[in-house]
């Protein structure tokens, strides 16, 4: 096995799941939206990409279209539940993910059924080694990750970010201050879904084939682990979470070839994931990294003024 190839492949996965973690962080971490159907929007992005690339659209248009279609689905599906409690949204979106997978599984003419669709890679340079190919993919995935990260970072440190955090902390108080919570929630949900759709497109073109079996609820759960372990409402934290979980998954995959266990390792892996989540919820609900404080100009001015007053007093 080519170790370098393996490492590069791992990097691509960290990048794609990093985007998903950033997007769930916007929804859950900053806005308190329980998206239990993350995989649905990932699927929408992947299938949109695959279908559009088959009719010959250039890859960047396919990626953008995947994100847009996912955003529209995100809006439509969240609308009935956004005014209600967090649990209604969780149930509806989780159910939506199952239904979508059912549709792509059943509709052979559209989505290839169980056999799925084959996808051409975004950028293919003829006659290069797999390593160069992977490097191209890494560049593509990480530039998308960078865009998402910067958007999330700017948004969460803006006045808009303060509003969504306020809605997360106390919906009624935020509404009393004149903030339309349903509107803000819908916007965040659309943005989060768009990012998930983008990640789906990248995933489809990287794997070059997608099947319904790739989009099981376990994907949603994995992204939740990344966010919870890394630290909700901390964009750097969830990136670390994404990297740790991906490395753990790879490690477990390698280890099972060398260690004899009484339990089938593929079962054990998910049991451990579940235990890990419970441990985090019990002993460190804030994750590895605490919520990052808001950085804005106004706050800096206040802090500066405070220090001056202190200085004069002393």
């Amino acid at each position: 096995m080519d170790l370098l190839l393996y490492g590069l492949d791992l990097l691509v996965f960290i990048g794609i799941f990093g985007i998903l973690a950033i997007s769930l962080n916007l929804e859950f971490g900053f806005s308190g939206l329980a998206n239990f159907g993350k995989v649905a929007f990932f699927l929408v992005g992947a299938y949109t990409y695959a279908l559009l690339s088959q009719i010959g659209l250039p890859f960047y248009l396919c990626l953008i279209a995947g994100a847009l279609v996912a955003a529209i689905f995100g809006l439509l599906i969240s609308l009935p539940a956004l005014r209600l409690r967090a649990d209604y949204l969780a149930i509806v979106v989780l159910a939506f993910g199952e239904i979508l997978r059912l549709i792509v599984k059943s509709e052979d003419w559209l989505a290839g059924g169980d056999w799925g669709l084959s996808v051409s890679p975004a950028i293919s340079i003829t006659g290069v080694s797999p390593r160069v190919d992977l490097l191209v993919n890494i560049a593509l995935v990480f530039s998308c990750l960078l865009i998402c990260f910067v958007v999330a970072q700017l948004l969460s440190n803006s006045p808009y970010g303060r509003v969504i955090r306020a809605i997360r902390e106390d919906e009624v108080a935020a509404e009393a201050l004149g903030k339309n919570r349903a509107k803000y929630k819908a916007q965040i949900f659309m943005l989060g879904s768009a990012m998930a759709g983008l990640a789906g497109g990248l995933y489809a073109q990287y794997l070059q084939a997608i099947v319904p079996m790739l989009f099981l609820p376990i994907i949603t759960f994995t992204i939740w682990i990344m966010v919870l372990v890394g630290g909700p409402a901390n964009n750097w934290g969830v990136l670390v979470g994404a990297a740790l979980v991906e490395i753990f998954e790879r490690g477990a995959n390698i280890a099972k070839d060398y260690i004899a266990l009484p339990i089938d390792p593929s079962n054990l892996q998910y049991i451990l994931f579940g235990v890990l989540i419970l441990l985090v919820l019990f002993y460190r609900p804030q994750g590895l990294f605490k919520e990052s404080p808001i950085k804005t100009r106004a706050l800096e001015v206040v802090r500066h003024a405070r220090e001056q007053v202190k200085g004069e007093g002393g």
């Binding site: 159910a95 939740w224 998910y270 579940g274 989540i277 609900p285």
Partner: protein, 295 residues
């Protein structure tokens, strides 16, 4: 297309009975503990595996399997609440944290069952006597299922109305603070509800497993209609759940006839529950609760 409408109606009753057994525990624990327990699907699956092991592998038959499984799974449900959800709630976990914990529990249970019983499907010994009643094809298993569901509805109704524990459950469900002030032992009420709810889910699992297959996703396969029953019936509302279970049973079975007439895949029967779920949330998120007193 030639449709045996009497059979469709009978099938709706079977489906409704199954969903009622499956959803009672979910709706009652959801109402009392204020979060949806996604691991409820795993109680159903556990019932299917235990029922298979006791009923078919040990050859003790359906009635013994039903009783033993009810108590065993009830105990598991009680321990899950006692060991995970109650301490988490005491630590001030939010509803999202409780839901995530229930998904984590769901994965722990599902893959543990996968490790114990493996992922290859099992089938109950297919010795259900089938006979014809007029235009209907009926099996032993279905008659058992309907009998258990009707029995449950009667026993639960009498229990909720006549017994101290039933009254305490209703009081706690409609206003926990007032119930506490009235001297009701709320934590005992909640424990009993989790026990009974998980036990009944497991009973549903036996029937589902006997009718289809037993594997680690037996419960997850029907979690969508069970959530639809819970929401349509009104969270925490037992009588609403009865009505909702049979409404969804009817919708699914008549819907399947419609799907076949349209030439669509019958696996979309799950989509029918989804549509009902969405419509309920848009039109009346409280579901049918307004027609029934809370219980």
């Amino acid at each position: 297309m030639d449709v045996n409408w009497a059979q469709v109606l009978f099938n709706s009753a079977i489906t409704g009975s199954l969903y009622l057994l499956g959803a009672v525990g979910l709706t009652l624990t959801y109402g009392l503990s204020s979060f949806p327990n996604f691991a409820h699907a795993e109680f159903i699956t556990l019932g299917a595996f235990l029922g298979y092991t006791i009923g078919t592998q040990l050859g003790l038959g359906l009635p013994i399997a039903l009783v033993v499984t009810f108590f065993a799974a009830g105990l598991v449900g009680l321990l899950c609440y006692r060991g995970i959800f109650q301490p988490l709630a005491k630590r001030g976990a939010t509803i999202i944290h409780l839901m995530v914990a229930s998904i984590a529990l769901s994965f722990i249970l599902r893959y543990s069952m996968g490790a114990i019983w493996s992922w290859k499907p099992y089938y109950f010994a297919s010795s259900w006597a089938a006979f014809d009643v007029g235009p209907l094809r009926v099996t032993d298993l279905w008659l058992w299922l309907i009998a258990v569901a009707v029995g449950l509805a009667i026993v639960m109704h009498l229990g909720l109305v006549k017994t101290r524990m039933g009254k305490a459950i209703r009081a706690t469900s409609s206003n926990p603070d007032l119930a506490l002030a009235a001297g009701i032992n709320i934590s005992k009420v909640i424990l009993v509800t989790w026990f009974v709810g998980a036990g009944l889910a497991a009973v549903a699992g036996i029937f589902r497993g006997a009718d289809t297959q037993v594997w680690p996703l037996t419960g997850w396969d029907i979690i969508l209609p069970i959530f639809a029953v819970t929401i349509l019936g009104g969270i925490g509302n037992f009588y609403g759940a009865i009505a909702a279970a049979f409404i969804i049973g009817l919708a699914e079975n008549f819907g399947v006839v419609g799907l076949m007439a349209l030439g669509l895949s019958t696996s979309y029967r799950l989509g029918i529950s989804f549509v009902i779920l969405i419509i309920t949330l848009i039109v009346k998120p409280q579901g049918l609760a307004m027609f029934f007193r809370r219980a």
